[in-house]
Amino acid sequence: MNAFLTRRFFDQIAVMFGREAKKPSAISEPAQKIHVLKRATNKERLQAAIVAHENAARVHTWRNRRWAVLLAANLLFTFSFWFDIQILEGALTASRFIGFHLIDLNSALQVMLAHKHIIVNLVIGTGTVLVLWLLLGGRSFCSWVCPYHLLAEFAEYIHLFLVKKKLVTDQNIDRRLRTLSWIVFAVLAAATGYTVFEAISPTGIVSRALIYGPGLALLWVLALLVFEVFFSRRAWCRYACPIGLTYGVVGIFSPVRIKYKLDSCFHEGDCRKVCLVPHVLDTVIKGRAVDTEVPIGPDCTRCGLCVDTCPTGSLSFDIKGISRLL
């Protein structure tokens, strides 16, 4: 990692905690060259290519794979209980995979702060999940496993449809709110001795509803979805959920990420339009990339929507260190 990417690495951590993405202060020589060359590109040919892309059939490869994984994971919980196949027992907050403890990092944190006593099984389960998501990409938990994410994706389709019809507008909210909510819920857990966040966590509520049957708590989830449809796109995942931040921090150290290649990019910005966290894709804006290849930051959920939508293959999944060997 050169100095430009190192600076960006730390910059992106700050961006995850809520800072606005800024123009880079320095750009590497080769990237600089490409930026200059791009200004000289034949505008008409580029325009034609962009039009062709707009008319091309949409690709959903990664989205479909992700939905399949998300449904499989959640149904494995459900079926383990319903049909007593005992593969994945428990709920997303804590479970046992063929006997091995798995405990959600944020739930574990809440319990540890509230109860102030940590038993061995809790440490084992939390450690296992930590290693698991370190290997799998941190916030990939959000897009590949969290059942609320899927519901919110459907709500997002409705929201975007209403936006297109000019019936609603997306009210964006300060992203620092998520960091604030993480701190507030941590402090509340430690101070009150109740796992306050667990009482409203839509991830836990939906997961339990899928396994143990629906309850009134789903009304809260519904209220969140209504808010997202009519007021603010993906508001919970973008601005409020502390689970996302917890796994985002894990993602800082994860080798799985999306990689951006500057030279082939059109800069038409479609990836930013589909992205849950467009601030991580600021690098695709014309003139912003600090190097010819830029890894996307830790707040990225590795959902692959940008990979699907990119007309030039400039965005792709990458495993640090291994992709080169493959």
Binding site: F81, T93, H117, L177, A189, Y194, T195, E198, R208, G215
Partner: protein, 294 residues
């Protein structure tokens, strides 16, 4: 805040990229936008916090006490340590454990037992729910730093009637989860000297109970096991714990002798007596989290 970051401003900022380092003062419209954004942020913050803290309400109103699964820590510790995963629900062979809903506030997703509907009859023999708990909300023995309420510990490990002939007849349980109490003695069949014949709780009752003479490992429906008793002693007969309840001859307030169920110290609060009581509403109930007072 005033950084040109919104996607819709993107193209604009591209075309009119100022070469000078000086920033123009933000327009009135921009200021208004940012003010509105703050307002919305405050609104969402308030909304989320409000919803989160509304969990306090049921606590404030101190709703009815929930009977927690065996081995549960004291309520405050239980609520702080339960991770709401429901693994205890999954291992219970009679499905006695249910998860609480929204009305339980912070207790949403925490396990409880509705003894009248389905009591814990210890037909798992080993208190599986404690074994399943990943966070130590249900424990065989409390960690040293947690206080023990007077009267909550059991004098001795409870002897399971079903296991009485086994080399190890006891249950690994150190504290009670409640105590049975005869709340409506006037309606109790035993006190009235009445018998009971037929299905306890009717044909539609779904509750399960382990009957050793039927199958040690497969609890059956109570409705599939009709009784014919000259004198009702169901709460004593079906109590899974040895010496927890018996029919004794007691003196009534008017001085006359009569028979009555009497609860003893070994009672762990499992709730089988509450489930099996054939009178509607039940004459004997579990007082959740109650301790033994001598």
């Amino acid at each position: 805040m005033s950084e040109p970051e919104q996607p819709d401003n993107e193209t604009k900022s591209e075309t009119q990229k100022p070469a000078t380092g000086k920033k123009p003062p933000p327009s009135r419209e921009r200021l208004q936008q940012s003010r509105r954004r703050w307002l919305r942020t405050a609104l969402l913050t308030g909304g989320v916090l409000g919803a989160a803290l509304s969990g306090y309400l049921p606590l404030v109103y101190a709703q009815k006490k929930r009977l927690r699964p065996p081995g549960a820590l004291d309520e405050k510790d239980f609520l702080s340590s339960c991770i709401k995963c429901g693994q205890c629900v999954q291992v219970c062979p009679v499905e006695a454990i249910k998860l609480a809903d929204l009305v339980d506030g912070f207790g949403v997703g925490t396990p409880y037992i509705d003894a009248r509907e389905q009591a814990c009859d210890f037909s798992c023999d080993a208190v599986q729910c404690i074994l399943a708990c990943p966070t130590g909300s249900l424990v065989y023995k409390k960690p040293a730093f947690l206080g023990v309420r007077k009267g909550a510990p059991l004098a001795a490990a409870p002897i399971l009637k079903a296991k009485e002939k086994d080399p190890e007849p006891t249950l690994n349980l150190t504290e009670r989860i409640g105590v049975a109490r005869l709340t409506r003695p006037e309606a109790c069949l035993a006190i009235q000297g009445k018998g009971f014949k037929g299905q306890v709780r009717g044909a539609s009752f779904k509750g399960l109970l382990r009957y050793m003479e039927v199958d040690r490992w497969k609890p059956i429906r109570v409705s599939d096991h009709p009784y014919d008793l000259a004198e009702c002693d169901l709460c004593v007969r079906e109590c899974p714990v040895k010496g927890a309840i018996s029919i004794e001859t007691v003196f009534a307030p008017d001085g006359s002798k009569r028979k009555s169920p009497v609860v003893h110290e070994p009672c762990v609060g499992c709730g089988v007596c509450e489930m099996i009581c054939p009178v509607e509403p039940t004459c004997i109930v579990i007082e959740a989290r109650e301790v033994w007072n001598t």
